[in-house]
């Protein structure tokens, strides 16, 4: 089932209007070691609790936003 995401451009909308972009992760650092790069690409924290993540407002303003969501209860803590 869905939950509400407060889009800064459009206002509160059901999460089904958005595309999930996964938990936030660092941008690529060309000077990092190969192992660190592989970890960055593949290893997710996958927390049961508060997670900072990216959402794309597909059926709205078509912009990305970052929210914190509790992955257990689906409560969005910061819009």
């Amino acid at each position: 089932m869905s939950f509400l995401i407060d889009c800064p451009n459009c206002g509160p909308r059901p999460s089904t209007d958005f595309r999930y972009g996964g938990e936030t992760r660092p941008v690529e650092d060309p000077s990092s070691s190969e192992l660190d790069e592989i970890k960055r690409l593949w290893m997710r924290r996958n927390v049961a609790g508060d997670q900072t993540e990216r959402w794309f407002h597909r059926d709205g303003c078509r912009r990305w936003l970052t929210i914190t969501r509790n992955t257990v209860t689906n409560q969005v803590l910061h819009g």
């Binding site: 089932m1 869905s2 509160p12 595309r19 941008v27 790069e37 690409l41 794309f56 990305w64």
Partner: protein, 896 residues
């Protein structure tokens, strides 16, 4: 409430016509007409009469005009409806399957009997199962009944209140007074209609008027919450709409109902919950029985007695159970007995009740037994929401006199609006009493003896017991039996750990939900059409889905369309391609990072093919990069990838912090590709711009005017012939299409669909991303290393590509089939070498130009060399690996 008019309306039930009085439910009309038995039970086909009269129990389920599982006690009666009993063979009154309900049969039909008996010989079960399916179950599905198409709307009030009784209404007012927006939902058409006359009903009317007048409260009548879902999200299903609410807080005020009691004969018609009998008496002016015995544990009992006496029911005795908090004050002339019910006599209808008390047992003659022993909170919904901001109010929290309850519910509403913590009752409590015989679960006919047997077999934990016996899993979802089951389990397994008799997990749905209600709104999908859709319809096109788009599959003959492009000229609507105008001071740096190919050295007026990779070096899209001027590019991507490409481009732009404007022109621009040996001839009649071989060579683009319409003409060769993609304002697509058709008429210009295009491009060896590629496809695997420039400092996916350079585990190859057959293997067919599976086909066609099947396939790298022999498909078509394009490998036709 006396109603003297002779009713003129009626409905049919079991061969009888039942008159309808004003305000009747099906149940009240049946009861007035003297119908005690409305259906038969699930397993033993025992008689089922009226119990709760409030839609909570499973007893009065009937089939109404083909709809199964209707609780007839709350469904309004209407003229001419057809009501049928459920689980009845031949006759409601003389059901031969009631023989299941004998001591002998019970012995052979214990809980889980189908696991234990009928197993050997093995041929027996398939023969018996259909018979059991026919006998057990709830009603007969009307297969001609089509699902409704219900709409779904989303609402996000601050607070959702469930239940518009006095407590729910007060909570809604309390929340609204704090400034919150409130939606309050109730199952009934008229909130409070199941209440008898009295103080509660008066209080409710006053609150209802306030709620209806309040600007921040919306009352949804006939809207049923069937579950609390994470989010939180509360679906409210109404008569023709699913209202999906996503509140900040929820107040559950679903009240309480009188508990079912367990004793021998507890399911015989005539055993009724006290409030049910009162509802019949006060709302429908129906006498529930001549002589009543009342089990009296709640504070409402004096009111019940008064209501029954008012319609002429004599109260023979009031049984005050041990452990009742305090005996209610009884009116004079009613005989109190402190004791317990042992047994109900009678099978068609209650004849007498045996009561045990200190010093003896007594049989009291009566035809109605009212159960008002204690209250069970209506907590199915609440129990689903324990991890949510959910509050409880009213009888659900703690039964109390109505004024007290209303005052407290107001406070609860205020707390919910302010986002404060909730006070919740202890959930899933044990029942006060549970006898030693009778039915614990009246939905599925699970008796005390069945539970005893199951516990003896080791199913002593309630969670296991529930699954084994199906107790709590019937239509009432444990309302009538959950507490009794816990009490009984604890008694039968003494000394067991507390969790053994724990409360079971409550999950949605809590109320009946129809499949068409669950899918409300799901059938509504977006269909995108190009500006030429109606033109294609006029040409007799058949369509297929490409992402959200409808594209032309073909116009009747794929071969004719294909030959037109190879031998004359064809046009195809490619308006669905993803189209982006990308500009700004950082645009070159941005695109150099986005594409693995060089971008900066593309001169204005030229273009280059580009792959789009993700950080794993995997291809997610491809298309063209056209440079309009120094700081402006025009990009195309595939139809189905446009949405994803836009999201990713914006993501990268934001992440890299670059000044780049990305404008999605996919819908704003149309595009038509004109291709074939005669394409130039046709186009030259419509434009004065230079489109000669020298003046407009291959891989160039510029704006030209075609039939008066400005077009960005892109000279590409996806189909392998001379051709231009004409990108233009979508509003002028029809005009341009008509002009091209008219100009090409003498050359036999032919519109072609994407099936023809698939073969045309396959002959050129071009891949289609996502058909020929998958989530592991790097450019190395498809021999497209030429589109990757590792000498570039950095681009998305570079490190992964460097890492994966030497280790492709699969290669995409082209093959030519050598059979004389005109049948190409299926896409997805197996590829074999020496009888071993080595790969699979991704694209497959019979080429009319070449006269043999061709295709693309994934194979293990050791079988990817030119000339490798392969066997393909179930017919073992012989094939060999080829390199380069099948058609015009030097590209001479393309550049002509």
């Amino acid at each position: 409430m006396a109603r003297t008019d002779a009713p003129s309306e009626s409905f049919g039930f079991d061969g009888r016509e039942i008159p309808i009085h004003p305000g009747d439910t099906i149940g009240s009309a049946l009861y007035r007409a003297g119908v005690d038995t409305v259906s038969r039970s699930f397993k033993y086909h025992r008689r089922r009469g009226f119990l709760c009269m409030s839609g909570d129990c499973p007893n009065c389920l009937v089939q109404v005009d083909g709809e199964t599982g209707v609780r007839c006690c709350t469904r309004p009666a209407s003229d001419g409806m057809k009501v049928e009993p459920q689980n009845v063979m031949f006759s409601l009154e003389r059901d031969p399957l009631a023989m299941n309900d004998t001591r002998l049969a019970h012995k052979f039909l214990p809980v889980g009997f189908y696991y234990k008996t009928l197993i050997k010989p093995r041929w027996l079960w398939p023969k018996v199962e259909p018979m059991i399916r026919k006998v057990a179950g709830l009603g007969k599905v009307d297969k001609s009944d089509l699902p409704r198409h219900l709409e779904r709307v989303y609402r996000h009030p601050d607070v959702v209140v469930l239940g518009a009784g006095p407590a729910g209404l007060a909570a809604a007012l309390g929340a609204a007074e704090e400034g919150a927006s409130v939606i309050i939902a109730d199952e009934g058409e008229h909130p409070g209609s199941r209440l008898g006359d009295g103080a509660t009903r008066d209080a409710l009317r006053e609150l209802l008027a306030q709620v209806e007048a309040h600007e921040r409260i919306e009352l949804l009548r006939e809207h049923r919450a069937f579950g609390l879902y994470e989010g939180p999200e509360v679906p409210l299903i109404g008569p023709d709409l699913l209202v999906m609410t996503q509140p900040k807080a929820i107040v559950v005020a679903t009240g309480a109902f009188e508990s079912m009691e367990v004793f021998a004969g507890n399911d015989v018609p005539g055993v009724m919950l006290g409030r049910g009998a009162v509802r019949l008496a006060t709302q429908h002016a129906v006498k529930p029985g001549d002589v009543a015995v009342i089990l009296a544990g709640t504070h409402e009992v004096p009111e019940h007695i008064a209501a029954l006496q008012a319609v002429g029911t004599r109260v023979a005795a009031v049984i005050i159970p041990d452990g009742a908090a305090s005996g209610p004050e009884l009116p004079a002339g009613v005989r109190p007995i402190v004791g317990e019910i042992v047994k109900v006599h009678g099978s068609k209808r209650v004849k007498a009740v045996s009561v045990r008390y200190t010093g003896g047992t007594e049989k009291i003659e009566c035809d109605l037994l009212c159960l008002s022993g204690s209250l069970t909170p209506q907590e199915n919904l609440l129990r689903q929401g324990t991890a949510m901001p959910v509050h409880a109010a009213g009888d659900l929290l703690a039964p109390a006199p109505v004024a007290e309850s209303i005052a407290h519910a107001r406070e609860v509403g205020g707390r919910a609006a302010r986002g404060e913590g909730a006070e919740l009752p202890e959930l899933g409590q044990k029942a006060r009493r549970c006898g030693d015989s009778g039915y614990v679960c009246i939905c599925e006919d699970v008796s005390v003896q069945d539970v005893r047997n199951a516990v003896t077999e080791g199913f002593s934990s309630t969670e296991l017991l529930k699954r084994y016996t199906t107790i709590t899993m019937g239509p009432c979802q444990g309302r009538m039996c959950h507490g009794q089951m816990r009490t009984l389990t604890e008694r039968l397994s003494p000394g067991a750990e507390p969790r053994i008799s724990s409360t079971t997990t409550a999950r949605p749905p809590a109320r009946v939900v129809m499949l068409d209600e669950v899918t409300a709104g799901a059938y509504a999908h977006l269909e995108r059409r190009t500006g030429l859709h109606d033109v294609h319809l006029g040409l007799g096109a058949s369509f297929l889905w490409a992402g959200q788009w409808k594209r032309v599959d073909n116009y009747g003959s794929i071969e004719r369309e294909y030959r037109a492009v190879r031998e004359g000229v064809g046009i195809i609507d490619v308006g669905t391609l993803g189209k982006f105008r990308v500009s700004g001071p950082d645009v070159v740096a941005f695109l150099e990072r986005l594409y693995p190919n060089h971008v900066g050295d593309i001169q204005p007026g030229r273009l280059r093919y580009g792959l789009l990779l993700d950080e794993h070096g995997v291809i997610h899209d491809d298309g063209t990069i056209c440079r309009i001027d120094d700081e402006t590019f025009y990009l195309t991507v595939t139809t189905s990838g446009a949405e994803e490409a836009e999201a990713l481009m914006i993501d990268w732009r934001d992440t890299w912090g670059m000044t780049v404007h990305i404008v999605n022109q996919t819908s704003a621009l149309g595009a038509i590709n004109i291709a074939g040996p005669k394409a130039r001839e046709v186009l030259s009649t419509l434009t004065e711009d230079d489109i000669s071989k020298e003046g407009f060579p291959y891989l160039r683009q510029r704006t030209i005017t075609v039939a008066g319409i400005p077009c960005l003409a892109i000279r590409l060769g996806f189909v392998g012939e001379v051709g231009w993609e004409l990108h233009h304002a979508a509003s002028r697509s029809e005009e341009l299409w008509a002009a091209l058709l008219a100009a090409g008429e003498s050359h036999g210009i032919t519109p072609f669909g994407i099936q023809a295009q698939r073969l045309l491009r396959l002959e050129k060896g071009h891949i289609i991303v996502s058909q020929d590629t998958d989530f592991e496809t790097t450019p190395w695997r498809i021999d497209m290393g030429w589109a990757v420039k590792l000498e570039k400092d950095w681009f998305v996916g570079k490190r992964a590509l460097v890492r994966k350079q030497d280790t492709p585990t699969e290669k995409l190859i082209a093959y030519r089939g050598e059979s004389g057959s005109r049948h190409a293997p299926w896409e997805g067919a197996a590829v074999k070498v020496d009888g071993k599976l080595v790969g699979r086909v991704t694209s497959s066609w019979f080429s009319w130009s070449l006269g043999h099947p061709i295709g693309l396939a994934w194979v293990k790298p050791e079988f990817a060399d030119e000339g490798q022999r392969l066997l393909i498909g179930k017919d073992n078509m012989s094939a060999s690996v080829v390199k380069g394009a099948f058609y015009d490998p030097e590209g001479a036709k393309l550049r002509a």
